[in-house]
Amino acid sequence: MGEVSAGGKGERPAALAIGVPAARVAPRWWRSIAVRRFVFGYSLLTPAVLYVGLLVGVPFLFSLYLALSDASVGAPIARFVGIDNLLAAVESSSFRVALRNSLVFTLGAGIAKSILGTTLAFLLMQRFRGRKVVRALIVMPFTIPIAVSALGWKWMLDSQFSVINWALGRLHLIGAYGTDGWPVWLGQPALALASVMFVNVWRSFPFGAIVLMAGLTSVPPEVIDAAKVDGANFLQRLRQVIVPMIAPILLVGGLFDTVFTLSDISIVYLLTNGGPNGATEILPTLAYRVGIQAGALGRGAAISLFLFPLLLPAMVLLLRNLRRREW
């Protein structure tokens, strides 16, 4: 280590003057490597924290405030009403129907997307001519604006001009128009719910397939080959080799899909608007109707907050599982 050079212009440093090495100056604590690493790390993290805090945390706290108040669209000052809005929601039969539909919608569509997405991913992993074109086409439902695709389905499921009914009629699989054998896709309660779920699945399962494909490509072929040599069949390889290896990707994809499906307002709003008689009403459409269209912000926020306790356990379980696998 060199000698300390100190002092101003024209001044001779004392240490140099007497020829004694300078005493070591202890670095200040905030200049220590540990602190500098700490500061550097958090300064890199700050934008993400700010982003999440401002765009997720603040709106969430605001909706919590609304849910506990009698806020309405035209009243600038709201009173604290405790859990009145939550109780009012539970008392309403429309809410209970919407809650049930939301669960059926999310679980039903989720299961269908898992099966179709997995199948599609394995199919697209095979080598065949035109694979790239097929891969590009398969993601189209996910890339088309939802308003456009939903309106397309609205026409295809139309009660009078449905192309699906036309085709089924030509195949003599359904009755004639105007008879009881003519399916009214968006008018019969069970069919209407199945139809909106179908459109959600049609739109989203390519996303699941892509996530799965991304995971599958990360599995070393030698591992699969070793499993084959050991005599594992396809299902055994899938369950005991592939899924454990790509679990983090599957869990994150599943989490995203659950959140998007549970909060999907567009398909129901555009296809049925929650009808007939609430058969396709889900929590987001009900919250929008009560909170924005009817102007009861407090009650609308309370309805939308019911999504939170539904999502929270799923998120905690998935994230804990993910963390355990990482460490």
Partner: protein, 434 residues
Amino acid sequence: MAKVTRREFMRFSGTVVAGASLATMLDARQAPAQIRGTTLRMLKWSHFVPAYDQWFDKFAQEWGEKNGVRVLVDHIPHLELPARYAAEFAAGAGHDLIYFVGQILTGHYYRNLVDMTDVAGRLAKKYGGWMPSATSAAQVGGTWYGIPDFFIAIPILWRKDLFDQHGLAAPDTWEKFRTAARTLKPTGHPTGIQFSHCNDANHNWRAVLYCFGARETDPSGREVLLDSKETREALRFAKALYEEGMTPEVFSWDDAADNRYLASGVACCIHDAISAYRTTEDTNPEVFRNTFVLPEAAGPGGERRNVGEPNVWAIWKFSKNVAAAKEFVEYVGDHQKEAMTASRGYNLPFLLGQYQKPMPVIGTDPKLHTLQDIGKITSFFGYPGPMTPPAQEVLTSFIIPDMFTRVARGQDIEATVGWGMGEIRRIYSKHQAG
């Protein structure tokens, strides 16, 4: 012939010239100088008749040029307006002049809207007063917080050729409507009214309710009166009408489905705005030739009550250009005849003096001329009460169409009324508690 002296001639002609000059001056009323050089931003819906929007935009620009005001008109789908207003209100900034349609939010926002009683008074004075139902959409506590622009009538459109083939009378009562549907359904021509979550379902089933003598609230709008014998009668009638004269597709319909049903030649009669008439005119001339229009069908007690769709102007208190906004709204009120023409008879005025016959478009069309009197039987949701926030929530929750849907699907009428009243009373109690 009596002889006219020079003095009498001069007095008479002087009076005529002075009167004409005054009328011209009033007609050419100039906006105050303070609005010159300002900007007026307004938000409207995208009208069902696109040509009307084109006319309106040009009309607004011309007014702006005449008065030295830069006019900006934004059109968005009417279902998106409430979310937009909530955002503008929260931000305390946005358009100077706004527009309620479908969801009439005057009762929600009136504390933040400019008092327009002066404009309403001037228009009433010029045009012989407002329709009684006009106040429902625009007044709160006797103060005008909005100015009714026009309303959309929802009449009966029926196929005269099909009715004549089977010796059926025009459906001027709901019983005749039902008889016709029952007779014509087996021939492949059922009727159709939406049992779904759409605007038309809200209008149509309310019209049936009101024609049967049921009332949604008391005149103050505070007490719900739907738990009545008349409501049960209307529900019973709707169930019979569905079973005898409709097919299940009505449970899936949106606002445009009945237009298509008529235009396709299937429907024997529908209950819809004249957009269905215009769609048929543009797409199926043969069916159009045989499509006739009646203002409304009468209920068992002879009552006819059409449930219209009001359109209302309002001005935010935070508007930067209240003076220009008021001037423009009054100018629009003075030009309802042009608006009627541009909308192909779709827009109907709220001002009584503008019902002088023949009215533009509907007065000259022999199949539409009966609509010239529809203002006398028009009311709006919440009738006979005003469009209060709870009445608005009942509307947007589709509780009344859902009551009709439940009964049509076979649920017990008493249980359905019990369910509907429970939902409606819960909404009213929440608003009254707030």
